[in-house]
Symmetry: C2
Subunit: 338 residues, 2 copies
DNA sequence: GTGAAAGCGCTAACAG
DNA sequence: CTGTTAGCGCTTTCAC
């Protein structure tokens, strides 16, 4: 098509399209250029991929796209892809490990050159298998149990410990840990950090752990846990640490239902730094994870792996630092209103 | 590969892979089947696309993926795609019309079979051009000025009017409209609906319109607007209607800074039903848009268009009904705490 | 029922 | 500097 009009071979056109201008005269280049622009010509990606074995696709599986946490992570990944001329394909696992597996398969079918996995946490074996088969993978945010593959995550243990210490030292006498089942590493780490950090302030921190059901926004369940906590710890200055943003929202909601005030009745702190947290009460103290950076660095790492095929793979582990944003919710004295 | 092992031609294998079992004996079918399973064989999508002209890709551009509103819309689109065996490719325009254009181009380059556009609102001409060139497009959430192409959206005018009426009738004497520049249709519609509905309750509703800058979370700007509103309307029961969730968050934040109480000092209502809105104060009254459905129906419509090529294109316009969720923020008397 | 052959649109090796 | 040739992995005619 182009080649005919320009009276050159398609090889030359191909060269032009790939920017190999050294291999042709200026005149040829200009001639092709004008025709390409004239026709607004778009090379066919499928054909290109077929021949070159490079699709320019990167896949990403998301444990739950509805989680507000996900969007900023996606943005980081997406930006890193764009900058390197990769096109991102996203698959939403909807919190289902089965769907996650299917998603990964489907991405591989599409010949993605690498996969960014924000995992449900229950496909470790399968991911390992794929990695060993040579599928390029990077794990973001939620590490796998064994670090056999590149991973970018945040410092759950340190950040959690720091927050617990700060809140105890602010004068609160009990901190409860509101969490969900420990089916992924960050939760396990945060749980552990909570117990470790707490034991120097209270006798039985494990009694202060409340585990809510996963994937359910059940106000009642939280109301019950809250009641239990208040009852068993009467006469003390209470606080709650939430394992993630979903739990935090539920806790705040349950407190509203019970007419409990933050922080007068119970202080609240924890993950994540969602945009509403500085709008509730006098602001909730939160741990802000560098999610954009996690996504961006993760994808960058993956792209490096794709570009530089190395013989001996040594998995990289990058842990990014979270920031504590201390706000009104963890002060003993409530900030005067007005 | 497969064909060798099964001692049949690749034609037959191809037939098998495409489920054309009528064209082969049971024995052949079984033989191929077992080999395919053995080798865990995955057909190459690029090659398939090249020949068949069907990539099985659907593209989607998002005006701003960080907007919490986007994720649920994406989910709807994604689900509809999955169900029809399309793979979704997402591109984030980051609120930039220029990037949006590039994204669309890039998707077309990838030979997507159709594009779902959640537009920044400033590429109408270009979208029209593409549509006329035969690119399959569906517009979701934010309609274009002229409805020349399939569109799925919500009933902005009706919902806004309803909310305004309800709040005035609840006894509030002024409702301010906090918005952003009218660079997309829903905002224009909501603005219009606000003015229309308000004029039977106040003299100059246009004086109650406050336009914040776009894309900026500038607490100060909102604080200033808020002060202005309070000052100019002293002695009245005040309310605010927000054009979207971003504005709502900013308004609530600014009220916090000023120490203003919802709804005692000012009632707040508007778009959108973000998960935190029932956790602030006694809950904020909101308009809940059926975003998932908009995404799902939009993609479904697009897929129908892809599957049934028709001669004369008559654009469809689907308007879905939003739900008003009335909560504590618009009650004259504050619900007693505790 | 099955296969041979052609070709989708492109890139890469080799030749000139 | 440029073109010829082969072929990526699949589908699709057409022939047997």
């Amino acid at each position: 098509m182009i080649s005919e009009k320009a009276k050159v071979s398609k090889t030359t056109v191909s060269r032009f399209l790939n920017g190999k201008y050294d291999f042709m005269s200026d005149k040829t280049r200009e001639r092709i250029q004008s025709i390409v622009e004239d026709l607004d010509y778009r090379p066919n990606h499928a054909a290109r991929s077929l021949k070159s074995k490079k699709t320019g696709f990167i896949g990403m599986t998301i444990s739950d796209i509805e989680n507000p946490f996900s969007s900023i992570l996606i943005k980081g990944v997406s930006d890193a892809c764009m900058r390197n001329e990769f096109q991102l394909i996203i698959a939403n696992a909807d919190n289902s490990p089965i769907k996650e597996r299917r998603d990964i398969d489907s991405l591989i079918d599409r010949q993605v050159e690498g996969i960014v996995i924000y995992t449900t946490g229950e496909n470790n074996e399968y991911i390992k298998e794929l990695h060993e088969q040579g599928v390029k993978i990077v794990i973001v945010d939620r590490p796998l149990e064994k670090l056999f593959v590149d991973t970018v995550t945040t410092d759950s243990e340190e950040a959690t410990a720091k927050m617990i210490h700060q809140v105890y030292q602010a004068g609160f006498e009990r901190i409860a840990f509101f969490t969900q089942p420990s089916n992924n590493i960050p939760r396990i780490l945060r749980h552990k950090a909570f117990l470790d950090a707490s034991k120097q302030y209270v006798e039985h921190p494990e009694k202060l752990v409340y585990i809510a059901k996963e994937h359910v926004n059940n106000a009642e369940e939280y109301v019950d846990m809250l009641k239990d906590y208040v009852e068993k710890n009467k006469g003390h200055k209470l606080a709650i640490f939430t394992v993630n943003g979903v739990v935090m929202l539920n806790v705040v909601q349950a407190m509203n239902i019970l007419g409990l005030n933050i922080p007068k009745d119970i202080a609240v702190c924890g993950y994540d730094d969602l945009n509403w947290t500085n709008v509730v009460g006098n602001g909730i103290s939160v741990i802000a994870q560098p999610s954009y950076e996690v996504g961006f660095q993760g994808a960058k790492l993956l792209i490096e792996r794709i570009k530089n095929e190395e013989k001996d793979y040594v998995p990289k582990y990058i842990e990014m630092t979270s920031e504590l944003k201390m706000r009104g919710s963890t002060q003993l004295e409530q900030r005067p209103v007005k």
